[in-house]
């Protein structure tokens, strides 16, 4: 364990210099206060460019951020009120802890990984299999399965018991080329497939590297067992091979960059052969890619961006920090939750995303928090929880009605390859936001759960406005905002019921840029 960072890589590792330089330190020193260490790496980088970091965020901003990042949904109003009223100094740590240990975290992680794992164009009729994958992933995250085990299980999955991962393979038609491409992107953060037709233009991969990597997936077949519920299972059978293009050359499986073939597997189960190297600390790309993805999740962009282009032509913004995070993950035996815990305790994660003076620091400086665009499901689930309040279909009040509208919303707003630093929607999607069915239910006086809940006579107008802000933006209104919104509620020139006025205010808040982001 002591010498993890000094492991002699078979592969040339571009960024290994930083970690080798610190081999003299003991592991204990290096990982004693990891969150501080992360902040130190960042502040060193700011000195060179005289970048001024933004101050610590307010409690409301932090609460919205932590909930959306870790639970995938904005804080429920009562939880937010309780958090804001809590006087204790360590309440942020408590919040993170309770979120990380909640089943919502597992669900949200499963949701994120489902999106990474499935091709953007997965047909709608594959829902049964997509749900099976989600359930499989959720179980892994609930148990906090170490990441190397999770990926190993995923890569060797087969047969009925492992139905979940099957869709990863079947949605790519069991084609070795597609599977090699997806696997290298997802778990190594590199685009090996660029070497499919010619040696990689930007990195060191050769065409041989790609095709011998693809050979690990040569033997996949659909299992003949029919599963209940219409799902599919896969298995490996020897026989099939991958050929080098336009030749008779059978490609033997080989790890990318390695010169000799891998140790043979007793039953020639090639995906197990692959996993032994791929999902391990011996694969220098594995932990780096995982750490970079976790960083991107919390900070809105990767230390290498895009997260699946970790090539020599696309260097990290903070090479030493990235190596440190990768080493930390290995040190923690690939405990992802521990990496989340450590990173959410950095000062960097607590900085505000607001810049009131001077220029906004570069997004890749991480000197201010980056505002992250919500995914379609984060937006809808927050709306559902805080505004619709289960009142979805007044005529036929049923959970199915809401599920149907949710499905329709996600289809409309689908943006599978979008980064959180993009706003991926166009005019058509925005028309749907302003005038669509979910906004109708959120703002129609007779239907909106939130508006109905505020009819109670003991609410003052200020209370109502505060509740609206907490529900939609996860913060109380500023004095100016309160004044403006009160003026709208009491505008004598317009003939409107008070419910209609509240409807206007709800619509306004739900369509602000602020409501679309994790601050």
């Amino acid at each position: 364990m002591m010498r993890i960072v000094c492991i002699h890589f078979v592969l040339t590792l571009i960024v290994s210099i930083g970690s080798v330089g610190r081999c003299g330190e003991t592991t204990g020193d290096r990982f004693a206060s990891p969150s501080d260490r992360v902040d130190q790496y960042l502040s060193e980088s700011w000195q060179e460019t005289a970048t001024r970091p933004s101050p610590r965020s307010g409690d409301a901003e932090f609460c919205r951020r932590a909930w959306l990042d870790l639970a995938g949904v904005a804080p429920p109003v009562w939880q937010l009120r309780r958090f804001l009223a809590d006087p204790s100094g360590d309440k942020r740590e408590h919040l993170i802890e309770s979120l990380l240990n909640s089943s919502r975290f597992a669900t949200h992680m499963a949701h994120r990984w489902n999106e990474f794992l499935l091709p953007a164009e997965t047909a709608d009729d594959r829902q049964v299999d997509a749900t099976a994958l989600h359930a499989w992933l959720r179980k892994q995250f609930l148990n906090n399965t170490p990441y190397d085990h999770l990926v190993g299980g995923f890569l060797t999955a087969g047969g009925k018991s492992d139905q979940g991962p099957a869709i990863f393979y079947t949605s790519r038609n069991l084609e070795p080329v597609k599977l090699a491409a997806a696997t290298s992107r997802l778990f190594m953060g590199v685009q090996l497939e660029c070497a499919q037709c010619h040696d990689h233009p930007f990195a060191r991969w050769t065409q041989d590297d790609f095709w011998s990597f693809a050979a690990f997936f040569a033997q996949l077949q659909l299992s003949e067992t029919n599963l209940r519920g219409g799902g599919q299972a896969i298995e490996d059978r020897s026989g099939a091979e991958v050929m080098f293009p336009d030749s008779d050359r059978v490609m033997a499986p080989r790890y990318p960059g390695a010169t000799s073939p891998p140790e043979s597997d007793p039953t020639d189960f090639r995906r197990r052969q692959l996993t032994i190297w791929l999902a391990s600390r011996n694969n220098p790309y594995f932990a780096r890619a995982a750490a970079n993805r976790v960083w991107a999740h919390l900070f809105g962009r990767g230390l290498v961006e895009p997260v699946d282009a970790m090539d020599s032509s696309n260097p990290p913004s903070h090479p030493e920090l990235l190596q440190y995070l990768a080493d930390y993950l290995v040190e923690q035996r690939f405990d992802l939750r521990e990496l989340y815990r450590m990173l959410t305790r950095t000062q960097a994660y607590h900085r505000t995303s607001a810049i009131s003076e001077g220029e906004r620091p570069r997004a890749d400086s991480f000197a201010a928090m980056n505002v992250k665009t919500l995914s379609a499901s984060q937006y809808f689930d927050s709306l559902s929880q805080n505004v619709l309040l289960g009142r979805f279909n007044a005529a036929a009040d049923s959970p199915q009605a809401e599920q149907a509208v949710r499905g329709e919303f996600l289809r409309r707003m689908k943006a599978p390859e979008a980064e959180p630093s993009d706003y991926p929607h166009g005019v058509v999607q925005v028309l749907g936001m302003m005038n669509g069915p979910e906004m109708l239910v959120a703002t129609a006086e007779k239907q909106s759960g939130l508006i109905a809940s505020m009819e109670a006579p003991f609410f003052s107008d200020s209370d109502r406005i505060e509740t609206l802000f907490l529900a939609c933006l996860s913060r109380p209104p500023s004095d100016t905002e309160l004044e403006m919104f009160l003026a709208h509620l009491n505008d004598a020139s317009a003939e409107q019921s008070s419910a209609a006025r509240l409807s206007d205010l709800t619509w306004i808040l739900l369509n602000t840029a602020e409501c679309f982001v994790c601050p």
Binding site: A354, N370, V371, L431, M434, A513
Partner: protein, 437 residues
């Protein structure tokens, strides 16, 4: 108060009508014609991309080899241009061959659908550190009219891989395509239903109330942007403002195909592609610079089996939609301002496989340019008698995109700034001057 050119034109028409009684109907018609001429006299150029999803067969459309065994079962027919011959399934386009320049020497290195699509639409291979914008995004940026209430780039029923290959890349979301999709099954009259949904505020919100909402929304946006002027926030605000502008204008009528007579709709073809071409005409009339229409639901041109049956069916749609679009644009004096590019991600193998299909073939295939700026009535480049290689006029995707730019009066070398301050030309290839006017 600022007035848009459209508004000015309307005023002129209204003026003409009010004095029409006094000056007689023929003069009135003349003045309307003059107004129409003025409307088209502006410099607005347009581009229509006809995208053939799946990779169309050059040997069964624009580069026939009837004397060779690779030629297959289709016959060729004469066109309006002596010596230039098309497939028998493109009869209407054959009549307008004087508008078309067939590029028979296309060759790229990508034989995979997704990467081929990206190469053809951005000019670059996917996967590098630079996020290259799709050509439609770069061109709509160059051609846009900042005063227009309509989107600059509308794409009808985009196929798979649209998000990666149609992405505005480093240009940012402001230049993303607005996508119009098929909403539900064909209507009772059997026309494909192309619609932009949610074009009206909710019923209980009248325009006065909508205005009041917007006033307060504006101040919320302004104060948030003040402290969070990040690209995604700016983009959200920009797209919202475009959508709000569109809601408040008549421009959105462009999307309403039911305003057209059934005869016209029929002429374009009832399918998604035909109705998409009709929408393209309506959008171009209203000043939209770039419209893309996709043919081949999913990867329809990916004819690994039963090539001939499928290509015939696709050609019927292609012929009706494209030819009618050119006729109608020409009637309105708009064809000379509109450049059309017909392309897919690659061509098909000359050899016919055992399933009666043709496979992926990027080594030698055809694309077509038509309309404004294009020297029509010719084939540029040639393939060998078996169709296996380009023997004359070889060009790649960069040359194609550069030629398209030049036809539209856009300098292909004009640069946009990528992330990190790196200037990137719209297209790096050499324009083929022989096919340009």
């Amino acid at each position: 108060m600022f007035q848009s050119p459209i508004f000015n034109r309307r005023q002129t028409i209204a003026g003409a009508v009010s004095i029409g009684g006094a000056i007689g109907i023929s003069q009135l018609l003349q003045s309307i014609a003059a107004v129409a001429a003025e409307a088209t006299e502006n410099d607005q150029r347009h581009c229509v991309l006809l995208w053939m999803s799946g990779g169309p067969s050059q040997l069964d459309t624009f580069d026939m080899k009837p004397k060779h065994k690779n030629g297959g079962s289709f016959k060729e027919i004469a066109t309006a241009v002596p010596g230039l011959r098309f497939s028998e399934h493109l009869p209407q386009l054959a009549k307008q061959a004087d508008q078309l320049a067939i590029l028979r020497g296309m060759a790229t290195k990508e034989g995979d659908h997704q990467r081929g699509t990206t190469v053809m639409r951005t000019g670059h291979s996917a996967g590098g550190p630079v996020r290259y914008p799709a050509i439609g995004c770069s061109l709509s940026k160059s051609l846009r009219n900042p005063d227009s209430k309509l989107p600059h780039y509308v794409t009808v029923a985009p196929g798979p891989f649209a998000r990666s290959s149609q992405s505005p890349g480093f240009l940012g979301p402001k230049f993303a395509a607005t996508s119009v999709s098929v909403s539900g099954p064909p209507a009772a009259n059997n026309f494909a239903q192309l619609r932009v949904d949610h074009l009206q505020p909710h019923g209980f919100v009248d325009s006065e109330r909508f205005e009041r909402r917007l006033a307060l929304w504006e101040s919320m946006q302004a104060s948030y942007l003040k402290t969070r002027n990040a690209p995604n926030i700016i983009a959200q605000d920009t797209v919202y403002r475009s959508a709000i502008d569109m809601l408040g204008s008549d421009a959105k009528d462009a999307f309403d195909l039911s305003a057209e007579s059934d005869t016209v709709r029929e002429a374009y073809g009832r399918g998604t592609f035909g109705q998409g071409c009709l929408m393209a005409r309506r959008l171009i009339e209203r000043g939209v610079p770039l419209v893309e229409v996709t043919l081949g639901d999913g990867l329809g041109w990916d004819t690994h089996a039963n090539n001939f049956e499928q290509v015939q069916r696709l050609c019927e749609q292609l012929d009706a939609g494209w030819a009618t679009l050119m006729t109608e644009l020409s009637d309105r004096g708009l064809l000379e301002k509109t450049t059309i590019l017909w392309a897919g991600e690659f061509g098909r193998t000359p050899a016919i496989n055992s399933n009666g299909g043709r496979d992926h073939f990027p080594q030698a295939f055809s694309c077509v340019l038509a309309g404004g700026g294009v020297a029509g009535g010719q084939a540029f480049g040639a393939t060998s008698p078996d169709g296996m290689e380009v023997i004359e006029g070889k060009m790649d995707q960069q040359d194609l995109l550069a030629t398209l730019c030049k036809a539209l009066g856009v300098d292909p070398k004009s640069e946009n700034i990528a992330e990190g301050g790196r200037p990137i030309a719209i297209a790096e290839g050499n324009p083929i001057d022989q096919v340009l006017l």
